[in-house]
Amino acid sequence: MSDASPFAPWRDPNADPLINFSNVTKKYGNFTAINNVDLKIYPREFFALLGPSGCGKTTLMRMLAGFEDATQGTITIDGQDMQGIPANKRAVNMMFQSYALFPHLSVADNLAFGLKRSDMPKSEISGRVEEMLRLVQLTDFSKRKPHQLSGGQRQRVALARALAKAPKLLLLDEPLGALDKKLRQETQFELMDIQEKTGTTFVIVTHDQEEAMTVASRIAVMDHGKLIQVDTPDRVYEAPNSIYVADFIGDVNIIEGRISSIKTEESELIWAEGQRPIRAQTGAGLAKGQRGSFAIRPEKIAISNDEPTDVHNRVCGAIEDIAYLGNLSTYYVRLANGTLIKSQVPNDRRISRRSFTWNDNVWLSWTDTAGIVLAT
């Protein structure tokens, strides 16, 4: 986004959402797959539904596609109530996890499949197919059958087929799950590129938090049929609203304690005797005197031989383990009270010149805004 104001329609109270879930519940017999979900998704968003398997993210998507109906509540797309409208009558297309390419049809016929069933005049169909083939760089493959393509090529055909009818909304069900890591990373950028070019609203379902962080404008973290946090990737990462989110997204250190002071900006947590309280950002739903948890990312913790005097938050411990990851090293430091803290440091020097090793006594420190206090 090159304009002055960043793309953030969810902050604008006057913006019309493309999708609106209100009080949506979905039950299968006694099992509640979706539990009273309220969610607005705006036009041109790249929205990620993230959660472990069985959290209801796929059900939420299938309700948008028209394969499932809500038990309670209403879902509107572009202002229209979707209850009872079958999949073939919705301006929504889906890219399936298995790609679901029709094996008996060529690439071009796969792309034309939906167009032939739309009100597009016959004469324009082949032009549109060409255009989609160019979009996903498969012009030379139009006559091939799906089994004559590699995994990455199939993935692109599936994407092009879902985009061919220029839907208002494109649903992507674990679109990159079948690709190897390198190809997946390349394809993530391709996806974002295509999303920007076509201006389509994308809703992606994934269990891969890195993928969600890379592609999405906003992420909904789900658990047991509920939305736990809906926010931008950086907010979800740096200001998680619960331990569940902090733990699900990335790596985190959790220190439990009692909240001794709360201000809007900053709170203090007493966590061990003889240690000064931890200062950190204030999370939601805290009360003075109650138990709380301090959450901090390993890369926000600095490690040093000498006691740093310019930061408030500092503790001493011994290095118990070192995980060398090439670009990074993670130090596992055992504090005097038994707590294990991970500190992640970029290896900007050669490993032989590293200044700490096993059993060294070191100081860990972090700034007052590096971590957050959350309700336990």
Binding site: A65, A87, N88, Q97, S98, F102, H104, F113, S150
Partner: protein, 270 residues
């Protein structure tokens, strides 16, 4: 290639001799000059010529072909529908009962099936003829079709159908333009199976046939009771030939298509 041990060689030859010697004898005697079936009188193809002059046999062959084509087509339509419901509709009350009942005719003695159909046709006052044989054959062969088709349906990726719906198909359109073309090989082999079953059925056909509708197996059986003629040997040889050619073509074409698919997939991933 592993070498065969003498034990394997012996058991293989004994087994194959057991299977094929009767047929080989039949084929050899179909080229016998002599009218006596058990005495070799020199090589000749005259019985094949006589066969073509025999109107009774030709009529019976025509009836058989008609019955086989009609009954296998009906069985394929009904059997595919049954397979679709049993695989797709998930759990419903009495599902186990229904699937059991579909497969029961597979193990039911043919005499009982034939007799019960005969009683049914008599009680509803239906004249026995080609129609009754067609109905009877469709009844017992549809369960074979449904077995073949449902095993293919079970491995069918339902997201293909969902993709079709998602792209704007009505459910019927999705079935017609996606599901059916993909399961077509199973449907065709179901049809072929029903066709062969109908071709060589003697028991059920003789219960349900009328005077004007003698099928080839009935004709062969009744003429053999009056003594085996070399003409019958010739006819049987033709039938063996037809079946052999059909089986070879079917297995070769599926082998070739699998090999081609493997090669394509290998090339695509290079």
């Amino acid at each position: 290639m592993r070498k065969l041990t003498w034990f394997n060689t012996v058991s293989l030859s004994v087994g194959f001799a057991f299977l094929y010697i009767p047929m080989i004898v039949l084929v050899i005697y179909s080229f016998n000059e002599s009218k006596l079936v058990t005495v070799w009188g020199g090589f000749s193809t005259k019985w094949y010529g006589e066969l073509l002059q025999n109107k009774a046999f030709l009529d019976a062959a025509l009836v058989t072909a008609k019955v086989a084509i009609l009954s296998s087509t009906i069985a394929t339509i009904l059997g595919t529908m049954a397979a679709f419901v049993l695989v797709r509709s998930g759990k419903f009350l009495g599902r186990t009962l229904f699937s059991g009942m579909i497969y029961a005719p597979l193990v039911m003695p043919e005499v009982i099936t034939g007799l019960s159909l005969l009683l049914l046709f008599i009680s509803i006052g239906m004249d026995r003829g080609v129609t009754t044989i067609v109905l009877a054959h469709a009844t017992f062969s549809m369960c074979y079709v449904s077995v073949v088709v449902s095993s293919r349906m079970a491995t069918f990726d339902t997201s293909l159908e969902e993709a079709a719906l998602d792209l704007g198909c009505t459910p019927w359109d999705a079935f017609k333009s996606v599901t059916l073309p993909i399961i077509a090989p199973a449907v065709i082999s179901g049809w072929l199976l029903a066709f062969t079953l109908s071709l060589d059925d003697l028991v059920i056909a003789s219960f349900t046939a009328g005077p004007s509708s003698t099928t080839l197996p009935i004709k062969i059986y009744s003429s053999v009771r009056l003594g085996v003629s070399p003409e019958i040997n010739a006819l049987s040889t033709i039938m063996i030939g037809l079946v052999t050619v059909a089986v070879i073509i079917a297995s070769l074409s599926s082998k070739i298509s699998i090999a081609r698919q493997k090669r394509d997939e290998y090339m695509a991933n290079q």
